[in-house]
């Protein structure tokens, strides 16, 4: 049995300790916003925040994360109102959208550490793979979200660790 703190709530789950956090989220807790893309930590579709740090949940055994605050895409806001989410909508970033949960969480973490990221900061910190080629819009939306956060627009609802 393992207890996880996800988006502010505790969940106790009966699952083998070496199960990757990704599959616990998806299959045991029906939190399917976090995606499977490669299983090797290479693509970032499975990105969650672990105590605020962007972490690829497909290479994290669930036993290693009890006691840490986990934030998934579902936990950013109740109503798509997080500045990053709003910037994503305003720039119409997603195409197929499958990579975007991870992309958004990587961005949330980046903006926490660097509220005014340079393009180079974005290059090294947002390395999620997108096969639809939305990268230039991602970049634009990151700058936009940075400006929104600078203007004091804070996330509404959802987890306070975001």
């Amino acid at each position: 049995m393992v207890t996880l703190n996800i988006n502010g709530s505790d969940h106790t789950i009966d699952v083998e300790t070496d199960t990757p956090l990704l599959w616990v989220l998806r299959d045991e807790l029906a939190l399917t916003g976090t995606k499977y893309g490669c299983g090797l930590g290479l693509c970032g579709a499975c990105t969650v925040l672990l105590d605020g740090r962007p972490t690829r949940s497909c290479v994290v055994p669930v036993s290693a994360v009890s006691g840490q605050a986990i934030v998934t895409i579902e936990g950013l806001s109740k109503d798509k109102s997080h500045p990053v989410q709003r910037a994503w909508i305003e720039e119409s970033v997603p195409q197929c959208g499958y990579c975007q949960s991870g992309m958004i969480l990587a961005t949330v973490a980046l903006l926490k550490n660097k509220p005014n990221p340079t393009d180079h900061d974005i290059d090294t910190n947002v390395t999620n793979i997108c096969r639809c080629g939305t990268y230039n819009r991602v970049r634009k939306a990151i700058h936009r979200a940075a400006r929104m956060q600078e203007n004091g627009e804070t996330p509404v609802g959802g987890s306070s660790t975001a």
Binding site: P20, L40, V59, V60, P61, A64, T127
Partner: protein, 446 residues
């Protein structure tokens, strides 16, 4: 000058030359470092040979399998993707390629017609019934220390396997190395052809460790540097060697460049799991050795090996710094001089950071931690480059959470060099400058 003085000078030169040759040729044995009084096995009250006392009860064949695993015959006698023990693994040497023979009991292509005496002759003296003199790629100078009983137990295990028809490619070395009879000289110089003799004043577990290491595990064949004549330079025992291009690092008790800073638990953990936190993760041939051999041994045996290895006196490897134990900063923009290796940084960001993190410390998957590992604290970046090229390919695929994949197929030599230098520079004690050309050599197995 007079004829007489010329003769004296000539004689002195010859004598000096012979002395040098003698010094060069006659080398200390692998246990010489321990000093002490040696006994024969008959004289020795303990039993450092055979299977360990803490082995659960099993039949003779299972015990024989244990010894075969301790000797790790399978690693060298199995080709990539081939049947176990059926031979065909290629050993790239400076003299050409040596292929391991088929040691399954097939009568035509394996050793099915060998008698006990044939087997002992091969294992103890390096003489094959089929090929004549064997090259020391086969570590018979180590296996010579096996008791007859243990060697024949291994034979019995091999003969219990299903015979496999396989004719490996012919070993072709360039002249004069293709003259096998020259190996007779090598054997005379370097194979004592005598069985293991324990050191009386050392503990039974130390002696058990000695037998496991010298007669079975033959660790020195990778971890001891070789002389020009390809014998083991036991004056620098365990100071490091090469294995299939990988650096087999210094196992002496030197603190900076060896394992002098490792605890007994570190070493036992490394051998049994292939990983020790802040020390390293076994890769390449060592990963295979862990998987095929060390993981099959009992706790007491691994402990004995650790005791023995840790008793080897310190010999430094000059190019290896003391490992850096402090993780790198979390911020990618810090920890490496900005703009010093943009290509390496970009590749690391894309392909590596997801598992290995920017700090080098992975608390969720400890064996992905780079901080403190010897490979990263090696300014030649050899093992880092090989790990990136080949991944953890020698381990069988499993549903384990993270097995490092190979990047050599898709990325160029220059790319591999750039990211290797980035890794060593960011996480290690001293920067590296491996080049694309050097990576190509590693890639080609040279």
């Amino acid at each position: 000058m007079t004829g007489k003085s010329i003769g004296i000078i000539a004689g002195a030169i010859v004598l000096a030359g012979l002395g040098v040759l003698a010094w060069a040729a006659i080398r200390p044995g692998p246990m010489a470092f321990a000093g002490g009084k040696r006994a024969t096995l008959a004289q020795y009250p303990g039993s450092p040979t055979g299977v360990p006392a803490d082995l659960p009860p099993m039949d003779a064949l299972a015990r024989a399998k244990y010894l075969t695993q301790a000797a790790d015959c399978e690693a060298c006698h199995t080709a990539d993707g081939g049947q176990p023990f059926a031979g065909g693994l290629a050993f790239q040497t400076d003299f050409g390629i040596i292929y391991s023979p088929n040691i399954t009991p097939d009568r035509e292509t394996g050793i099915g017609t060998w008698t006990d005496a044939d087997f002992l002759k091969a294992v103890h003296q390096g003489i094959s019934k089929d090929k004549g003199w064997l090259y020391p790629a086969f570590p018979y100078a180590a296996y010579t220390y096996l008791t007859d009983a243990d060697a024949l137990a291994i034979k019995a295990y091999l003969f219990s396997l299903p015979p496999q028809k396989n004719v490996p490619p012919s070993t072709k070395l360039r002249f004069p190395y293709n003259q096998r009879w020259l190996m007779a000289i090598w054997s005379r110089l370097y194979d004592p052809d005598s069985r293991f003799r324990p050191v009386v004043d050392r503990s039974p577990s130390w002696n058990r460790g000695a037998y496991l290491v010298e007669a079975l595990g033959h660790c020195g064949d990778c971890h001891t540097p070789r002389t020009a004549l390809q014998s083991l330079d036991n004056r620098h025992k365990f100071a490091g060697g090469l294995s299939e291009g990988w650096r087999a690092y210094n196992l002496t008790s030197d603190v900076d460049s060896g394992i002098g800073g490792w605890s007994r638990e570190d070493l036992v953990g490394y051998l049994t799991t292939g990983h020790s936190l802040d020390r390293g993760t076994a890769f390449g041939p060592m990963a295979q050795a862990v998987h095929l051999s060390f993981q099959k041994l009992t706790t007491a045996d691994v402990s004995a090996i650790a005791e023995y290895v840790r008793s080897v006196p310190p010999v430094p490897t000059p190019d290896l710094p003391a490992p850096r134990l402090k993780p790198a900063p979390e911020d990618p923009a810090q920890g490496v001089a900005a703009g010093s290796n943009p290509r390496g940084e970009a590749l690391f960001a894309s392909m590596c950071a997801g598992c290995h993190t920017w700090t080098g410390a992975n608390h969720f998957v400890p064996h992905a931690t780079l901080t403190g590992t010897r490979a990263v604290n090696d300014p030649t970046a050899t093992n880092v480059a090989l790990a990136v090229l080949r991944g953890a390919a020698t381990l069988p695929p499993s549903a384990d959470i993270a097995v490092m994949p190979a990047f050599g197929q898709a990325w160029s030599d220059d790319d591999i060099a750039a990211v290797s230098n980035y890794v060593v520079g960011r996480f290690g004690a001293r920067a590296s400058a491996i080049t694309g050309a050097q990576v190509q050599q590693l890639r080609d197995g040279k």
